[in-house]
Amino acid sequence: MNAAAEPVIVVDSLTRTFHTGRGRTVTALDHVSVTVEAGTCLAVVGESGSGKTTLARIIVGLERADGGTVTLAGRVVAAKARRHELRRRAQQIQMVFQDPQSSLNRRLPVSTAVDEVLRAHSRLGARARRERCAALFEQVGLEPRHLTARPDELSGGQRQRVAIARALAADPAVIVLDESVAALDVTVQAQILQLLAELRAEKGLTYLFITHDLSVVQQIADHVVVMRRGVIVERGTTEEVLGNPQHPYTQLLLECAPRPGWKPQRGMIRALREEIAS
């Protein structure tokens, strides 16, 4: 990967609190700071509600932060921005969502999802855009006949490939993958992870991979950040964190991950829970 190790995303002391009604609040992010170096893959791990998706959404600018800053390739990301700023950002960072079902407009052929990106970011004519669409589809392992298909005619894995093609269309340097393989079954998951690894090697992409699945982390990430209740509890390289977890929560996550010969151990999990609580 890139030896220069230049930080492409710098998240500094990001804070976000949600008001859930009746005066109750949930702190999704509590002074979270993360740095992602160019060409690397950072996995953000945590259980549901740990704030990892909120982090991803703020980084791409879909959500505002209450405090702290996100700097993307030297420019501050704001949720409210002017059109040209949004377009510039779109050429820097893209996102692949979790649910392949809802990530495409089911009333349009899937290639329009890619085509409209090309139309927004290039001066290509209709014919050149069609060729570029076909090339992108090929790059993500889809066939030309898929171009005119509706989302309903494709499998979950194929739809996710279209979503990846759409993310690549504006040629961004960073792709945020928000649980992008979580809705797929294991074999399809492996294929998509393989595709992502190839694309990364080919284009020198930077990934921010949001996931709850430690086996996925193992397969794709260089660095890992473990989040719990809006706070980063552990960080390090993938080998360090998965091989020698320091924080009891990380140990718990690893303990809960199914593997050969694994049996649920109630006593163990309770003991770890108590240890975290104290």
Binding site: R87, R88, A90, Q94, F97, S102, S103, L104, D152, A163
Partner: protein, 295 residues
């Protein structure tokens, strides 16, 4: 719709036509087909009234008062000796165009308000929502009566006033669905691409909530028809001697008491059948839309 189906009666059923009917049957069921047929008959009656109505709907004959059903007068005549069948045909015009204005205006403005509200959110949404709350506070008919008191009784005034009264309902339903759709990735992804809100709204959001708009319009049509008929019944909508189903129900009151129920009953039947049919079609369409969302 009528123009599309009209030639089918003269042409032998070809393959595409047969397929069309099979598809229609599969979608709507037997009752749905009957409902569609009833609506079509009403529409055809209204469109072809000048051709098929045997008499002038507004001119009666004193010697022909309360004549019963006969070859000359299919459904008999009313207290002024006017042909009830002709009046029903002509009455279909105002009885159908009134609600059409209402659902048209309501769908356009309701959708517009809902989409603007959902896309911009924040202050715009808050302001528009409060405006709708304000409109909600007025009972539909009261608003219509108020408008008629100011602008004078006419079917257009009544229909427009009713449209304004209906907008909040439509806007609110569309808003809640559009709000849910807005947060789905197929809308947020183009947003991340820096594509403009107007383009995303028209290209992605609108087509996906269109079934809801159509369903809402179909069901509103029935409500509007009943309320406009009520206004005409009260003398605030269509003005006599023009023919209108609501007006006919009201006119027929005295005849009803004298033992000649044909006018009120038939006009009432027309209203009930049309409203029920449209309601059923709307529900079928809505069920389909809901099912489509799930799949």
């Amino acid at each position: 719709m009528s123009a599309h189906i009209l030639p089918t009666h003269t042409r032998p059923a070809g393959t595409p036509l047969a397929r069309f009917f099979v598809a229609l049957y599969e979608r709507m069921g037997v009752l749905g087909l009957i409902a569609i047929a009833i609506v079509l008959v009403a529409v055809l009656g209204a469109v072809l009234a000048p051709v098929i109505a045997p008499y002038d709907p507004t001119v009666g004959s004193v010697t022909q008062r309360y004549s019963g059903m006969s070859a000359a007068h299919l459904f008999g005549t009313d207290q002024a000796g006017r042909d009830i069948f002709s009046r029903l045909l002509w009455g279909a015009r105002s009885s159908l165009t009134g609600p059409l204005i209402v659902v048209g205006v309501t769908a356009v403005f309701g959708t517009l308000i809902a989409l603007v509200s959902v896309w911009w959110g924040g202050l715009v949404d808050a302001l528009l929502s409060r405006l709708l709350d304000l409109l909600f506070a007025f009972p539909n008919l009261l608003l219509a009566v108020l408008a008629i008191a100011v602008f004078g009784p006419s079917i257009t005034t009544a229909a427009l006033a009713l449209s304004i009264a209906y907008i909040p309902y439509t806007a609110r339903v569309i808003r809640s669905t559009a709000l849910r759709e807005r947060n789905l990735p197929y809308v947020q992804s183009p947003q991340l691409q820096g594509i403009s809100g107007a383009v995303i709204t028209v290209r992605h959001l609108l087509p996906n909530i269109a079934p809801l708009i159509v369903t809402g319009a179909t069901i509103n049509f029935g409500f509007a028809m009943i309320e406009l008929a009520a206004l005409s019944f009260l003398g605030l909508g269509v003005q006599p001697p023009a023919a209108d189903w609501g007006l006919m129900v009201s006119n027929g009151q005295q005849s009803l008491l004298k033992g000649y129920p044909a006018e009120s009953l038939l006009a009432g039947l027309c209203i009930v059948l049309t409203v029920a049919s449209l309601g059923y079609i709307g529900e079928k369409l809505g069920g389909r839309a809901a099912a489509g969302r799930k799949a």
